[in-house]
């Protein structure tokens, strides 16, 4: 099979895994202001403490995979989106150090703030990055040729805000799995409200994307895409319906599953709208791809190592399955 296609899929998978896994972690941090006391905040922290590092590793893997497979995209995106990407990293730094620092601190308030703000900054910056990519990047001779603020426009700001609600949805549905009592009850409420807002944003993005990126519209309504592109919004609506129902009937696992499908539908729809373009307006996956030998060599690593990595991620999750609160991780 074609190495470029395999790597495009791998990259898409890595980004999706990152978005879902770190997404719920960031979302839980975004729910910090809704907590009532330190005890509740401890539970929120404990729900992600054993897994956040493994989750964030998917980001590093995604970055590495992009560097390996499509070095031109890596170079153009990272130099062109310098400010949102490093802002994202600054946010992650504060989020990441908080786990240990907050546990050690007698006065937890500054670290609660750092955790919330760090995550908020990271999420908004992710949205601005995505919005910036979709807004198109000026390229000359295989290198970025635009200005430092090209990514900043109403569309990218909208994506940044949309992502906040999306991650809150993931975070609150994950909390439903991990908690009981008052926190869980509130999480049901947050999930339901954010689900509606996310639906609104998905519709908004669907309308706005072709206005912002005209080729999307041509892509949708020309074969072969016209035959299947509608399945993604349909899948999204079905997931939304299931999510709504499962929240109302107080299911514990299903809301998270539906939220992931909801995200997945939007994500696939987005990819299907621009593929084979990787970075609008013009960089394709094929022209950006690395040397065949590099793709093949690293693919062997992926085939051998990634199943193992997934296996111990699953194992680690199974070790820490169940509700938080029986033991305290930090004391």
């Amino acid at each position: 099979m074609d190495l470029v296609i395999i790597w495009s899929c791998l990259l898409a998978l890595a980004i999706l895994l990152y978005v879902v896994l770190d997404g719920f972690g960031l979302g839980i941090a975004l729910l910090f202001p809704t907590t009532r006391d330190e005890e509740e905040r401890n539970i929120l922290m404990d729900s992600i403490a054993p897994v956040w590092d493994a989750n964030q590793t998917w980001l590093v893997f995604g970055g590495g995979a992009l560097f390996v497979s499509f070095p031109m995209i890596y170079g153009v995106l990272f130099s062109g989106l310098y400010i949102p990407l490093l802002t994202f990293v600054f946010g992650l730094i504060f989020r990441g150090v908080t786990f240990e620092f907050r546990a050690q601190a007698t006065r937890k308030k500054p670290w609660n703030m750092a955790f919330f703000l760090g995550s908020l900054v990271a999420v908004v910056a992710q949205g601005l990055t995505l919005g910036g990519i979709l807004s198109g990047m000026k390229v000359a001779g295989g290198h970025f040729a635009g200005g430092p603020f090209d990514w900043l426009n109403p569309f990218s700001v909208m994506v940044g805000i949309a992502l906040i609600t999306g991650y809150i949805l993931l975070g609150s549905t994950y909390l439903i799995i991990k908690t009981t009592g008052a926190i869980q009850e509130r999480a049901y409420g947050h999930a339901l409200r954010s689900a509606w807002i996310v639906l609104g944003f998905q519709i908004l993005v669907t309308i706005w994307t072709p206005l912002h990126y005209p080729s999307a519209l041509t892509n949708w309504f020309s074969p072969p895409r016209i035959y299947f592109i509608w399945t993604f919004p349909l899948l999204g609506l079905m997931a939304f319906y299931g999510l709504n129902k499962s929240l109302k009937s107080r299911c514990e696992i299903l809301p998270f599953v539906y939220s992931v499908i909801f995200f997945f539908a939007g994500y696939l729809g987005l990819i299907a709208s621009i593929y084979p373009i990787a970075v609008p307006p013009s960089i394709t996956f094929r022209e950006a791809a690395a040397q065949q030998e590099t793709l093949r060599f690293t693919l062997w690593g992926v085939i051998i190592v990634l199943p193992l990595a997934l296996a111990y991620t699953v194992y680690s999750y199974s070790v820490f399955r169940g509700k938080v609160g029986k033991e305290q991780y930090y004391h």
Partner: protein
Amino acid sequence: MDALLLSRIQFAVTTMFHILFPVLTIGLALYLVIVELLWFVTKQEIYYRMYRFWVKIFAINFGIGVVSGVVLEFEFGTNFSRFSQSVSNVFSPLLAFEVMTAFFLEAGFLGIMLFGWERVRRSIHFLATCLVAAGAIISAFWILAANSWMQTPAGYRLVDGKFMVADFRAAIFNPSLPIRMSHMTMASFETSAFVVAGISAYFLLKGRQVDLFRRSLGIALVMAALFSILQIYFGDASGRQVFHHQPEKLAAMEAHWETNVKEGAPFAVIAIPDMRAEKNLFEMNIPNGLSLLVTHSSYGKVMGLREFPKEDRPNVLILFWSFRLMVAIGFILFFVMIWAGFLWLRGRLYESRPFLWILVVVHPLGFLATELGWITNEVGRQPWLVYHLMRTSEGISPIPAGNVIWSLSLFLIIFAAIGASYSYYVLKTLRIGADLSSPIPSVQRPAGMLPFQGVRKGDSVKG
């Protein structure tokens, strides 16, 4: 200042901040493996208590290592995108393999190591510690492979200014990798052993939790003694490796200007090199010293800096002194261990207060030596990004200087805040001391455990 210089400063700041944490992670992980192995085999409670104490420091350290490391992966693209796009075919797989073989391993088992006490059996917990330690070393391997490739590139073909892979095995196991990997791993082990020794010595001096820290110190000193000797060997091998592969770097490290013709090249113990005048303003020499060191013969020929075009020379002043200070620290630590040996023979290892104070004083020196070593290594590669093939100025991203001024100032502020918090919380952990009384989770408690009698009055301070 332009984007190039600013980006170089930023990369230096971020790597120099980052490296402090992996150094301790790698070494402390090994220490924890040893302690948990002892707990596993001897079933003495003291080892469990020791583990729970040192793993706290490990955890704080690990988190910062992770978040500061992500920065570096981003910076290849944000600040050096031309470099990244040019070398990626050969270079980037090494980073990807690091993530796949090391980061997932570490991250997957770190949760169990830190929080899994009540959820997994002893054997699984021990396995988790071993895998995290292995992950740390594997990670070092790939990073050293990538960095060594920039020092001694191999396994590539240059096509229109782009590096293409010819042979991955040659690229990964490039000429300088084995010795540099050994030197760096040893630096991590040695630094960490001295950190543990210094902290333990302080507790002994203060008479706090004496039994536990005496045992901690014992293990640390055995490690420190072994590693401080080995490191001198690897350091010497490292120097000779530089002599063979990067002669102008060696000449700059030694402030050696003129190739020796008939007699041996002298070793300058102290010098004030002047790059413009191409000579040393002042020097104190050991005759034939340099020839002996790098060629292992009194009259061996050592190329002088003047053989190389001015624009291809690294900064002699920085290299000369960073290298010398690093070596000096290596020998200081070595002599401390000689002293330890004498005390041990006389059975006074834990009683000699001057010795314990010295351990406290020298405990951060390993970090300093590691930083100086990396300065020597990286400044010594200049003006090249890929040695003799790509200049640093050719690798920079097409970004305005303003971008970098913005990010560099934020990095400085954030790192200062995080560094201060880190020190504060580590000191706080030390002030609280080891927890000697919390119940051991039943899954961790082996049959026939030998209880720890170390709880004394005033010791049962709990965090």
